[in-house]
Assembly symmetry: C2
Homo-oligomer: 292 residues x 2
């Protein structure tokens, strides 16, 4: 039986140490800018995306040192997107992971710039990675750029949809861009670094796309079923601002059905691979569990 | 005699066409986001940084098709930085190149996201460039990431310095990061793409660093000597918000002396190169002329 909590703990430790090397406490200033980046980077995130890089990478035989920089990069990119999404002109959130959001703590302009710098440093982390061939770094950076652009498109769609009646297809399109693209990239990156075969890369992409969807549906469900203290961010926020979510479109029971269906799909893909995919399976199982 | 206006016109045409291919009018939406990017990209900029990529690249023998994507990338990165710098929480500017700034025209959240997307697409433009070897693309992307991070640091320093009494060293440090890093990268990128020798790359870096400084000093001077209509942006803005500038620290006469000194340095570097450097010389001359 794969020990997922131990795995998450291990990856968090590896990635936190790498991020601390890349953006050190005594690194280049100005102090406020560096502190703002570190405030959000070391704010108690689960490191879900880095864990996916490692789970997929190890599954196909990559060495940890080949995965570390890319894992740090996806966490930086994710963190930048959270900082910007929380801004007053966007989702206007004061609370993130149980702490003040970056702009509440450091002011709006510093928060915008901290996000901007994290995006640049995410690309730098990959292109400077001496443990990977140039061709691999190029393909990773190109994939991350595409995911980053999709993430922004999804956030724009999400903001524009506030207060509008959405159908399921529109909700899925928003989330495939906003959340799904970077989650899919994280798993795909692991397989790419490991030099997985084309057929394996098709499979992992299908798994990762399903996983991104599963992530979002369960996230939507948590927003309506959990209190603020458990979430570490403001609960009921989606409904309050009139966001289209799976529960708002499908209702809670059908959302649970949908979760089961997407979970089955991801497991089905993994069962087609002649490898030990227990870590990837455990990650999909974990998302279902957290939705309850 | 090198015809600089014709050169600027030619490069503007090339780069505008390439940007229009990379972010097409009917490209991926949402419409507002794409329109916001295009509003700022096609807002009548001089394409100074792309021109530097071409001037340095051609000087050392690169083909135009090897330079085009990188030229487009530096323009995207520069445009993103202008959009974010103009935001209400930053410099709060309504006017840019004689037109409404991005957030005035499209709203604040769309402007932030348009800048975010442009940064991602700038990296994509370079790493996807099929006209360059992987190693060259890696080195370009790494250089651009470093310049992008410095640009953000410079903007943070600039904002933090408002209303403070600055010495010359602090003013120079702000501008070396905020403006100088991307200008230097643009010229260096041209030389790198052309496969210039190490000694030549040292020379071009020295030239470009001087040019970045010259750009900023003359920009500061224009802010106090030119009216809003001539600038296309709000004149006297630096003084109004209490920014440290060359004229505010040195006075106008000594600022003019400094311009002459830095210009002489850049020309001296070029004279040491056994090549036709007339385009690079003309660019340095142009900056001096615009300061008058």
């Amino acid at each position: 039986m794969f020990d997922l909590s131990e795995f998450f703990r291990e990856i968090s430790e590896l990635v936190t140490a790498e991020l601390d090397r890349l953006i050190p406490v005594n690194g280049p200033g100005p102090d406020n800018l560096r502190d703002a980046m570190r405030w959000s980077l070391f704010g108690g995130g689960k490191h879900f995306r880095p864990a996916l890089v490692f789970a997929a990478g190890r599954t196909f035989g990559a060495a940890d040192e080949q995965l570390l920089r890319t894992a740090a990069a996806v966490e930086m990119l994710h963190t930048y997107s959270l900082i910007h999404d929380d801004l007053p002109s966007m989702d206007d959130d004061d609370l993130r992971r149980g702490r003040a959001t970056c702009h509440i703590k450091f002011g709006e302009s510093t928060a915008i710039l901290a996000g901007d710098a994290l995006q640049a440093l995410a690309f730098q982390s990959i292109v400077d990675d001496k443990n990977l061939e140039s061709e691999v770094r190029i393909e990773l950076a190109a994939g991350m750029a595409k995911a980053a652009a999709k993430m922004v498109r999804g956030q724009q769609l999400d903001l524009e949809s506030e207060g509008k009646e959405l159908d399921l297809l529109s909700v899925e399109n928003i989330h495939a861009n906003k959340t799904g693209a970077l989650i899919a990239f994280s798993a795909n990156a692991g397989a790419l670094i490991a030099g997985a075969r084309d057929s394996e890369r098709v499979a992992i992409d299908e798994y990762a796309t399903g996983l991104g969807l599963l992530f979002q549906i369960t996230d939507d469900l948590l927003d309506v079923t959990q209190p603020t203290e458990a979430l570490g961010k403001t609960a009921g926020k989606d409904k309050q601002v009139g966001k289209g979510t799976y529960p708002s479109v499908l209702g809670i029971d059908q959302t649970r059905e949908k979760i089961k269906e997407v979970h089955d799909q991801t497991i089905g893909v993994l069962e087609g691979l002649p490898l030990d995919t227990s870590s990837l399976r455990a990650i999909s199982d974990f998302l279902v569990t957290r939705g309850h």
